[in-house]
Symmetry: C2
Subunit: 303 residues, 2 copies
Amino acid sequence: MPIEAESPRAWRAVLEHVERRLLDGDLLPGERLPGERALAADLGVGRSSVREALRVLEAMGLVRTASGSGPNAGAIIVATPGGAMSALMRLQVAAHGFPVADIVRTRLILESAVAGELAERAGAEAGLETLRSSTGEGAGLETLRSSTGEGAGLETLRSSTGGSSTGGSSTGGSSTGEAGGLPAAERLLDAMDSPDLEPAEFLALDAAFHLALAEASGNQVVTATMAGLRSSIEGYALDGLARIDDWHATSARLRREHRGVVDAIRAADAPTARRRIHDHISGYYAETFPEPAPTPAAAPAHA
Amino acid sequence: MPIEAESPRAWRAVLEHVERRLLDGDLLPGERLPGERALAADLGVGRSSVREALRVLEAMGLVRTASGSGPNAGAIIVATPGGAMSALMRLQVAAHGFPVADIVRTRLILESAVAGELAERAGAEAGLETLRSSTGEGAGLETLRSSTGEGAGLETLRSSTGGSSTGGSSTGGSSTGEAGGLPAAERLLDAMDSPDLEPAEFLALDAAFHLALAEASGNQVVTATMAGLRSSIEGYALDGLARIDDWHATSARLRREHRGVVDAIRAADAPTARRRIHDHISGYYAETFPEPAPTPAAAPAHA
DNA sequence: GCTGGTATGTGGTCGGACCACAGTATCAGA
DNA sequence: TCTGATACTGTGGTCCGACCACATACCAGC
């Protein structure tokens, strides 16, 4: 739409071409892009430019490329925002574009909202019990997403750019939310009760738990964003591990707080759920970071 | 950190090299990357691979490239997450990775939190009045960000990948928040009072207003995310314009609601600010989208 | 019918070659 | 000496051709 003078950059033309085809709907997830050579010939650019555009698309989590031949080869449209968001935020933090404090503040906002929403939904479900399917989450105005089911499975997440450590949970699938939902999160809590757990392993499970909560909310955007937020400060979290005096006591407290959050959600007590997850995150970072508390003026989330 | 077997992909090695240098701190914003040929020679890869990695970095808002010679040429480290976030979310929506409903739901979460936080801060400032500077926003654990001031200015935002229409407001600068703050948002409201405004122009100003609120919160992550959310559904917003019966009445209502939000913030009434911004966004999308309301079960934000 | 090698096409990478561009050094002229 | 235009140098931007590794599809031979 924007005139913007056709950028002399050839690779951008390729990018815009793909985006337009995507928007026009004749390029659905699971389908294959034309070959690099064909695309170059079609658009009148060199293959290098096509490849640069494809690298961007790959980094954005839009395509998955594979060598060889057959139906799985080539550039296939996928939609795995988790890895892309992680890479983006991780790099921005590395380049001092995202202050760590803002990352934490955003975590507070999103996770409080997620916990509150889950609790409210639990209350609503307990109330009218039967027609659970009618409150379908992510399927607001897009029910066609079932067409994704073919090539955009949960695997191959790792092939995205940043894929360092988004956590074990998948991010792409589970179209209507509730892919495991709260039970999945609680399974992670059970795993965290294992006494012989390295701090780093505990931290990984902790990350997976928080991500599972977001997934349970059924909001793909929040899920991907939280994956990005988490992985962007993972290095700091690992460093902060050394700052903890009594790991045993700390991990016990974290486990207790996790259970408290889930309990509040199950009890449909939204304000308590919000407050508990907020204090949980806020408290952990206050303990593990040297600087003053990340929460700025007042408690931002729960009124 | 993760072993992950050195990806056979050469361009990824370049990406990781740059990321490591970034994390090690010997590559600060404003500084220049080595030339493509030198980088290729250093890492033992071809220039094509270096270029593919640079395209990814450019798309992620990490570098800004310029031809020619001199201090402004080459790949310069910047940190402009706004454009990158916009491109990422826009493409994800185009590829059906982000349902539009989830975009709207996330807007509700973030903007409610922003409005509430601004209101609370207004109350805090009114209370202790003098030591305003001590509640510095984004400068939680990173005060070194003033080093950004040289090359990572507000301009050159446009050169990022998606740069279609993030809105007029800048996204990269304003390190300690409050770059205009609420007054900037109110200036936009004044501009929206102009009677001879095309609906599309009004919409652009509306987007800028919401972004200005986020900027006023001083949270770079939220600001960039909101820029992305907004631009990702801009096409839908424009399409929805045709769905509005009486544009005059609608625009008057929107203006009134905007003022109401700012008034609540100025009055330090956080719950009201949250509710008003929530209803504002929710109401607009209910009017402009055909499907059922995007808000799922209950009012998610304000308890 | 099954098995194995082969043909084909894919992305991945490299190296080279140009171009346009923007500074900078150089040198001729006043 | 100063000034101006010129040539030079190095940058990214693009294209091209070539090769490789790989995975499938095909087909001859068993």
